[in-house]
C-alpha cells in the first residue's frame, strides 16, 4: 500500500498531469503497429494438429468409381426438384433418404422478420453408427440455396450420394446426420435450435428424430449445375455468428486433407490467390477481422458454432480440374477423422487470426493490440478524473472573468490562467520548489449530473436499436436517411438545448461526463476484446479520436473543425461510407442485420448503438461546447 500511496502522491505532479494524452496516443500507435507486425514470421506460427486422435489424411478413401454414376443420377434428381414447391421437394428428398434405409424427417420453419417472411423446410436423415450408442453425432450439411441464392445442385446431390455411400460402411462410431437445409442461414439455425430444444415451437417445428451430442459439422457449397463444373480450389469458411470461431483443429484437418491428401488448393477469406507475402497475409487477416467483427453468419456452418459444435463450410471456387468425386473424398476423409474423436474438440485454439491456410496468430500474441486501444480510453478517463478535481477548473468557464485574449491560449495554458497564482512551497529532500496551490488541492466533484447525463445518452441508444431492428423494410430507407442526417447534429443540438436552460453544464461537468464516457468505453471494449477481438479493435480504432477531444470554449473555428472531424467518424456515417466503399446496398445490409437480430442472435447492433454511438455522442457534446459558449 505504501508503494501505491507514493505513486498516487505523484499524481499531483504537473508534469505527470500533462503526460496522459501522449500516453494514450502511444497506446494507440503501439496497438495498431502491433497488429501490423503480426503477419511477420516472428509473430505468427505454422498451424499444427493438436488433437492426436484426428489423424487427418491417414486413411484410404474409397469414394470413387460407380459412386460417380450415383452422384450424376442424384444431380439430375435435384435439378428436377428446382421448380417444385418446398413440400414436394422435401417429400422427394425424404424418399431418397428412405430408399437408402435411413430415417428421415422434415422440419418446417417460418421466421417473421420485419417486412419479410422466411419460410422453408429442412430435410434431414440420421445414419445410426454401427459402432455407436447414439450419444454422439456429426453433421453433413448442404443448404438448398447457398449464400448467393444459387441452387446448391451438386452440394445437395453429393450429400445424398455420401448418405448412400456412408450407410454401407461399418466403421462409424458416431451417428451421422445429413441435413438439407432450406437456405444457408436461417435453415441451419432453425434446425440446430430445434436440435437443442432452444427454439420457439410456434415458428420452428420440433425435430422428430434426434441423435446424440453434435461433435462437428461440415457444410458443402457446390452450386455446379446438372452438367457439372470442375473447380480449382476449396474455400474454407470458419467464422460463426458474433465472431465466435470454430476450433482451429477442424480447420487444420480440412486444410491438411484437402491440400495434402487430395491435392486441392485451399483458400480462405476470399483470397483467391495467396502468394504468402506480407501483403497477402495482412489482407487475409484484415478480411478475417472484418468478417469476425461484423459477426454475421458467413455460411450454413455459422449457426452451429454458438452451440459449441465446431463447423466449417467447404465452398468450391474457380476453374480447375477437381471434380465432385475429389470433394466427396475430402468429405469422406474429414468424416473419418472426426469419427476418430474421443472427446469434444478442445485441444487447439478457439481464438486465432488466420494469415494463410497454414499460418495463424494465437490470442496471446494479438490480444494486447485491442487491449492497448481500450487502455488508451481508460488512461484518458483517469487523467480527466484527476483534472476534474482541480480547483481552478471552473474559472475559465465563466466568460466574464476570462480576458479577451483567451482565444489564443494553447491547451497547456488552458487550465492554468496566466493571472497571478497562489503558490505552495514544497520541500523534497534538500531542494524546495514552488507549485501552484491549485494543483495540490482537490475539490469535490459533482457526480450526479454526469451520471444522469451518461445514463440518459446510453438509454437513448435503445431508440435506434429498436427501430433498425423492428422497422418494416419499406420504412428502412427513410429511417436510415433520417438517422444519417440527424445523428451528426444531435450533440450540437444537445449542447444548444442545455446551454439555454438552467442545466447548462460547467467545464467540470463536461470533464466528468467525458471521463465517465471514456471509462465505460474502455471497459466495454476491454470486455468485448475477450469475446470478439475484431469488433473491439475496429470500434476502438474508429473511436480513438474521442480520447483527444477537449472543450475549447475560446475558439469557435477550432471547435467547428473538431466537430466536423468527429462527425465523419459517427457510427452511422462510418457504416454508410463502408457500404458505399464495398458497393453494398445499405438497406439490404440493414435487413440482413435485422434478420440476424431476430433469427441468429446477432448482437453487433447492441455494441454499435449502446457502446459506440453513446460514446460518440458524448464526444460530440464535448466538442460542441466551444460552439455554444
Amino acid at each position: 500500500m505504501a508503494l501505491i500511496a507514493t505513486v498516487l502522491a505523484l499524481r499531483s505532479h504537473p508534469r505527470i498531469q500533462r503526460l496522459p494524452p501522449y500516453l494514450s496516443l502511444l497506446c494507440i500507435i503501439i496497438g495498431v503497429a502491433w497488429l501490423l507486425l503480426l503477419p511477420l514470421n516472428e509473430y505468427s506460427r505454422e498451424t499444427y494438429i493438436s488433437e492426436n486422435a484426428l489423424l487427418p489424411g491417414q486413411v484410404h478413401t474409397y469414394f470413387t468409381g460407380s459412386e460417380h454414376n450415383v452422384f450424376r443420377a442424384y444431380r439430375h434428381e435435384v435439378a428436377d426438384m428446382i421448380l417444385q414447391p418446398p413440400d414436394v421437394r422435401s417429400k422427394r428428398l425424404e424418399d431418397i433418404f428412405h430408399s437408402n434405409n435411413l430415417k428421415a424427417a422434415t422440419q418446417r420453419y417460418t421466421y417473421h422478420t420485419p417486412g419479410r417472411e422466411i419460410k422453408d423446410e429442412n430435410v434431414y436423415a440420421v445414419l445410426r453408427g454401427p459402432r455407436a450408442d447414439a450419444t454422439e453425432a456429426i453433421v453433413l450439411v448442404a443448404a438448398w440455396r447457398n449464400m448467393d441464392g444459387k441452387i446448391n445442385h451438386s452440394g445437395v446431390a453429393l450429400v445424398l450420394t455420401l448418405a448412400r455411400y456412408f450407410k454401407r460402411w461399418s466403421l462409424w462410431s458416431k451417428d451421422i446426420i445429413f441435413l438439407i437445409s432450406g437456405d444457408s442461414t436461417s435453415g441451419p439455425q432453425a434446425w440446430v435450435d430445434a436440435y437443442h430444444d432452444a427454439h420457439s415451437p410456434e415458428t420452428v417445428e420440433s425435430l422428430s428424430i434426434k441423435s446424440g451430442a453434435l461433435q462437428g459439422a461440415v457444410a458443402l457449397d457446390y452450386p455446379a449445375g446438372p452438367w457439372g463444373h470442375r473447380y480449382g480450389k476449396l474455400h474454407i469458411m470458419y467464422d460463426g455468428v458474433n465472431g465466435q470461431l470454430t476450433n482451429l483443429d477442424l480447420f487444420n484437418t480440412a486444410v491438411n486433407i484437402a491440400s495434402g491428401q487430395m491435392g486441392i488448393g485451399t483458400a480462405l477469406q476470399r483470397m483467391w490467390s495467396h502468394k504468402n507475402t506480407y501483403q497477402d497475409r495482412l489482407q487475409t487477416m484484415l478480411r478475417g477481422m472484418m468478417s469476425q467483427g461484423l459477426g454475421h453468419a458467413s455460411g450454413p456452418h455459422s449457426a452451429f458454432i454458438p452451440y459449441r459444435v465446431d463447423a466449417i463450410t467447404l465452398q468450391t471456387v474457380g476453374d480447375g480440374w477437381h471434380d465432385e468425386m475429389s470433394l466427396g473424398r475430402t468429405v469422406e476423409s474429414i468424416f473419418r477423422s472426426l469419427n476418430n474423436l474421443l472427446e469434444h474438440l478442445h485441444q487447439s485454439f478457439f481464438f486465432y487470426l488466420l494469415l494463410s491456410a497454414k499460418r495463424f496468430v494465437s490470442i496471446g500474441t494479438y490480444l494486447p493490440s485491442a487491449m492497448l486501444i481500450a487502455a488508451n480510453f481508460s488512461i484518458t478517463a483517469i487523467a480527466l478524473w484527476v483534472q476534474s478535481g482541480r480547483s481552478d477548473l471552473d474559472e475559465p468557464a465563466a466568460p466574464s472573468k476570462t480576458p479577451a485574449s483567451s482565444e489564443k491560449k494553447t491547451e497547456s495554458e488552458f487550465f492554468q490562467p496566466t493571472t497571478e497564482k497562489k503558490m505552495t512551497l514544497i520541500h523534497s529532500g534538500p531542494s524546495a520548489t514552488l507549485i501552484p496551490t491549485t494543483l495540490l488541492t482537490t475539490t469535490e466533484r459533482p457526480l450526479l449530473y454526469p451520471t444522469l447525463f451518461i445514463t440518459a445518452i446510453h438509454t437513448t441508444g435503445l431508440i435506434p436499436l429498436y427501430f433498425f431492428n423492428n422497422a418494416h423494410s419499406t420504412h428502412l430507407p427513410l429511417i436510415l436517411n433520417t438517422t444519417l442526417a440527424t445523428t451528426p447534429l444531435l450533440p450540437l443540438l444537445i449542447s444548444l438545448a442545455l446551454s439555454k436552460t438552467s442545466l447548462r453544464p460547467t467545464i467540470r461537468h463536461i470533464t466528468l461526463i467525458q471521463c465517465f464516457s471514456l471509462l465505460l468505453l474502455g471497459m466495454f471494449l476491454a470486455s468485448l476484446a475477450t469475446l470478439n477481438f475484431s469488433l473491439s479493435f475496429l470500434i476502438g480504432v474508429l473511436a480513438c479520436p474521442l480520447s483527444f477531444v477537449r472543450p475549447r470554449p475560446g475558439s469557435k473555428v477550432q471547435s467547428a473543425g473538431l466537430y466536423l472531424l468527429l462527425s465523419l467518424l459517427n457510427p452511422v456515417v462510418v457504416g454508410r461510407a463502408a457500404t458505399v466503399y464495398w458497393g453494398a446496398d445499405a438497406v439490404e445490409v440493414l435487413l440482413k442485420a435485422a434478420e440476424g437480430w431476430h433469427v441468429w442472435g446477432l448482437w453487433t447492433q447492441v455494441i454499435v448503438w449502446l457502446v459506440w454511438w453513446p460514446a460518440w455522442v458524448v464526444g460530440g457534446v464535448v466538442a460542441s461546447q466551444g460552439l455554444v459558449a
Binding site: L8, P306, I382, W385, T442, E444, A526, S527
Partner: protein, 422 residues
Amino acid sequence: MAIDRQKALIFGAAVAVRLLLFTTFPSLPNLLAGRVEVSTPVTSFKRLQEGLFLYKHNVSPYDGGVYYQAPLLLPLFSLLPDPSYFPFASNVLYTAVDSLGAYALMQIADSMQAVTPRLFKSSRKDLRWSSVAVAAGYLFNPFTVATCVARSTSALSTLFILVAIAKASQGAGITFVFALSIASYLSMHPILLFPPLLLLCYDVRASKAKSAPSASRFAVSHTAGLAAACGLLLYLSYLLTGSWEFLQSTYGVRLLLPDLTPNVGLWWYFFIEMFDSFREFFLGVFWLHVASYAPGLTLRLRKQPLFAAATLTGIFAIFTPYPSIADAALYLSLLPLFRHLFPLMRYSFLAAAAILYASFLGPAFYHLWIYAGSGNANFFYAITLVWSLGLSVIVGDSLYAALRDEFDVERPELRGKEVKRI
C-alpha cells in the same frame, strides 16, 4: 413538504422502474435468476420454487437436495400464487421489500448515528447526504435492482439487516433483536453483526436517557432476547417440517459448503481445488477468518459502532461462502451514510473502476467458460478476484478514512497533514 415530495418521487420512481422491468421484459427475471452472480445456491428463487413444490406436495422440501433455504420461507411463499403463471404477486412482494429496505435506510440516515455517535463527533459532520439521497442510492443501485428482479431471497435478508440497523440506531431494543434474529435465521452470518449493533443500540439508549443503563444488564438481556428469538424461529421451523433435519440442509450447507456452484466469492474455486483431507481444516480457517473481523472491528471502532457494522457487511460481501451481488449492494448502499469520509478516501476511483470492470468482464468470462466453451473456470475466477479486490480496497480505504477522521479529532493540529504509520 418538499422533502415529502422528493420521497414520493424517489419511491415512486423506484417502484415504477422495478414493475416496468418485470412487465416489459417478462423473461428477465428468469434470466437473472439463473445468473450465478445474482443467485447463489442458498438464495436462488428457482431453488425456492423447487422447495415450494415439494412442500406443497407434503414431501420434506430438503429431500430433493436442491433447496437450502430457511423453512419458514415456504409458508410465506406458498401464500402467493404460482409465479410461473401469475408472477405479479411475487414481483410486488419483492418491490415492497426493496422499498421497505430503503425506508429503513432513511431511518438510519435520519438518526445521525453515522456522523455523530455518542462517543465521537466527526469534524466533518456537516458533510452528509440527505436521507432521501441515501435511499435513492440504494433503490437505484443496479445491483439492488438486479437482485430484486431476480427475486433472490437475499433481498429479504438485506431488508432485515437494514431494519435491524435502523432499529438499533433508534435505540429500539426489542425490534432490533427481533429483526436481527430473522436476518440471522435467513442467512446465518448476520449474527456476527450483533456485537457492533448492540453497542450502537446501547449508545443510542444511553444518549437518550439521563443516565446510561447498566452495560452488563443491557448486554445480557439483549443477548438472551436474541437467543430466545432465534430459538423461537428454529422451533417454529421444527414444528413446520417435523424434524430437525432442516438444520443440516440450511446452516450445514452454509457452514460446510457442499455445493460448489460458482459465485462471486472466493471460496468455491479454492474448495474445488482442495484435497479432501484438508477440507475440514480450511473450512475452519476460512470461517474463523470471517468471524474474527466482528470482535476486532467492534473493539477498534468502539466510538463508531454503525461504521463497524457497515464495514462488517462489506466483509460479508467478500469473505462469506455464498456471496452474491446482493451483499455488495447492501454494503455499497450503507457507504453513502458516511459521506463525510469520502474526501479522506484515496482509492475511490481505482476501486470503483475495478468493480465496474469486474461487473462487465465477469459475465463475459462466464459466457466464455460455460456457453462458448472457449474459456475455462480460471477466467471467471480471475474476475471474482478482481471483484473482491475492488470491494476490499473500498473496505480498507473507508476504514483508513474512518480512523483518520478519528485521528483528526484527537490531534486537530495534524489535520490535513501527511501521516505515516510507523
